[in-house]
Point group: C3
Chain length 268, copies 3
């Protein structure tokens, strides 16, 4: 992954406006939709059993996020997920708060087993919770840097043959034996609700256009981080940061990618 491949993806998103079907949590729906619109994708939210199969039928990717999960929503996630699998559509999964409660952890594991998402995207605590029964999280915020989750990420990529995208001060995206490290971003980002979930949604947009889910996941985190850096330059706090972040996603150009991208690839 480099600035050229990311730029190619962005141009494709802006040209095609891929429809990203989100079954996500109530807190972040607006910022998620605005982030997708800002990068050029077409967001849709739909969670009714009666609606999700048709919507998956016209979507380019499916994003599942359990941030405010409940039984009817989980049922809809499985129905949508099964429809996505039948169509060969990529599923991006965000295990929000996994590890904080048994319900979240167990639902996450069921989704991994039964729907086999192409990409899991979470913070270190959430990713670690998927391979251990230890409590590693507090609510929905991570206690650890992404480096601490590398053992868990490799176990997940081995077991589920999926990409594992771990956010943090340095984002680490894992697939098979490789790690892409992205050092872009800004410390204000965890102070704004929903930016992790927006990262997951953008991952859905990139996964709709990039042939490689590994590169798609890394490109999404790079774009998030670079937009965060641009936003931070003029922000005076998390309120104005959020506004400028959306502006930056919309304005991001080839030159921003070339001058700012801090990516490196490592082997296991």
């Amino acid at each position: 992954m480099n600035a050229d491949t990311i730029w190619k993806d962005i141009k494709e998103i802006r040209g095609d406006a891929p429809l990203v079907h989100n079954i996500t949590n109530f807190v972040v729906m607006e910022v998620t939709a605005n982030a997708l619109l800002a990068i050029g994708a077409s967001p849709v939210m739909s969670h009714a059993l009666e609606d999700v199969e048709d919507m998956v039928g016209i979507a380019s990717s499916l994003v599942l996020n359990i941030g405010t999960l409940s039984e009817p929503w989980i049922e809809a996630m499985f129905r949508a997920g099964e429809a996505a699998r039948r169509r060969g559509l990529r599923i991006v999964f965000d295990p929000v708060g996994s590890g904080a409660t048994r319900y979240r952890t167990e639902t996450s594991l069921r989704i991994l087993e039964e729907l086999q998402p192409a990409i899991i995207r979470g913070n270190a605590s959430e990713i670690m919770s998927l391979v251990t029964s230890q409590t590693v999280t507090k609510g929905v915020d991570s206690r650890y840097g992404s480096d601490k989750a590398m053992d868990a990420a490799f176990r997940l990529t081995d077991k589920y043959r999926c990409v594992v995208s771990v956010s943090g001060a340095v984002d680490r995206i894992v697939f098979q034996n490789e790690i892409i490290k992205i050092a872009n971003g800004h410390e204000m980002m965890p102070r704004v609700t929903g930016l992790g979930c927006a990262a997951t949604a953008l991952t859905g947009a990139f996964a709709a256009v990039d042939p490689s889910p590994f590169e798609a996941a890394a490109a999404a985190m790079a774009v998030m981080g670079i937009a965060g850096e641009i936003a931070a330059e003029k922000a005076q706090g998390p309120g104005s940061f959020r506004v400028r972040f959306i502006d930056a996603l919309h304005a991001i150009g080839e030159n921003d990618l070339r001058t700012r991208l801090q990516a490196a690839t490592e082997s296991r």
Copy 2:
């Protein structure tokens, strides 16, 4: 409709703060409520079967929006809608995503048949989907300009005796044999989630104070468009556009209407 009549409506909204009862989608609730507050109305959101009749009982208009529909919410829409009809309260209906899935199209048609909204407000794809079985939409974004929906709009106004308000680069509001065309607005507006839904909610506010639902529907679209133009002057992207749009709705004055309104009336 002209600047005077719109200004009269705005003064009445600001003076009376009509209570607009919204049963709407999760994505746009906040921006909808903020748009209603900014223009001077009093928004309320209520969707429980146990709650909606009492709330309709004190409301000045009812807005129904199926953007994240599900069975319990549809049931509540019908209960609220029937209570609104008994009270003679105007219903404004937004068929979000109609045409994208059968569930949305069928629910929209049931609402038209059984609740007879005073005003239908949607984009061209959504309006067209109400009179054809062809797929004309992708998710919740329109594929067409409002001119393409004029046949459908006239069929709907003939059949349901309602106003049909079609948004686009030029908004077209149809009733009986007339079209009001509003050329205000800005290309950034579809890049911000919920502005279409906010237009529907503002239509509810204007429908609460203007004797003519036709003029109310047109006034709401004119105010949306003019606030959008004002917002665009200082916005640096869709994030700051959204902020300035709310500021502009709050500040909009008689002079803005007089100098900016681009409205024309045509016959069928």
Copy 3:
């Protein structure tokens, strides 16, 4: 309560990031979460019966808000509330729209009787509705200043041994025989949706760290009001006010409290 005690609370919130578990309404979830993050707390939203007990088990306080209530959410509020009582966790309750519909009033009274919140926080109309069967509200906006609700507030503190925090141009926080009056704030605040609900959520954050629920409730209102004043200095309307309000919560410092706090204590 004075600037010192408020500042001590803020430092503790910023140091410990207490987890505030919110079961709240759809309209305000994002601004609530962002307000909690801005002051330094860690917000979580969870409403599933299967999830709330575990989440309460790791939370530092519980906030219940009935703004978009429905049967499953009420059931979850009681399950979470009972778990909070077993743990000795403080419950902060916001009776949004109580008085507007029977369902809201009756649910509020059940919550008072069965869950015994440490703090009730509402506007004057809502607080008055809890002790009278007269209609005193229109939707979710108050018709009265906080002074009009003092009789009701004293009856509630006597009956339920709880703090009663009444927002208005002057906020009045009541406990036993005392009233703390906070004269900070700005007239723009009721023009932004969710700032009342954000006040309730911040009350939850302060109640997680301050030994006295009375001082916690007052500190939260003081911080809201002072952040509102700071925000108003540069805001151009309710859109930019909301952005700057979040910035101000994040930046608020000891000196802001010392120079701006307008608090006074009175006896019944």
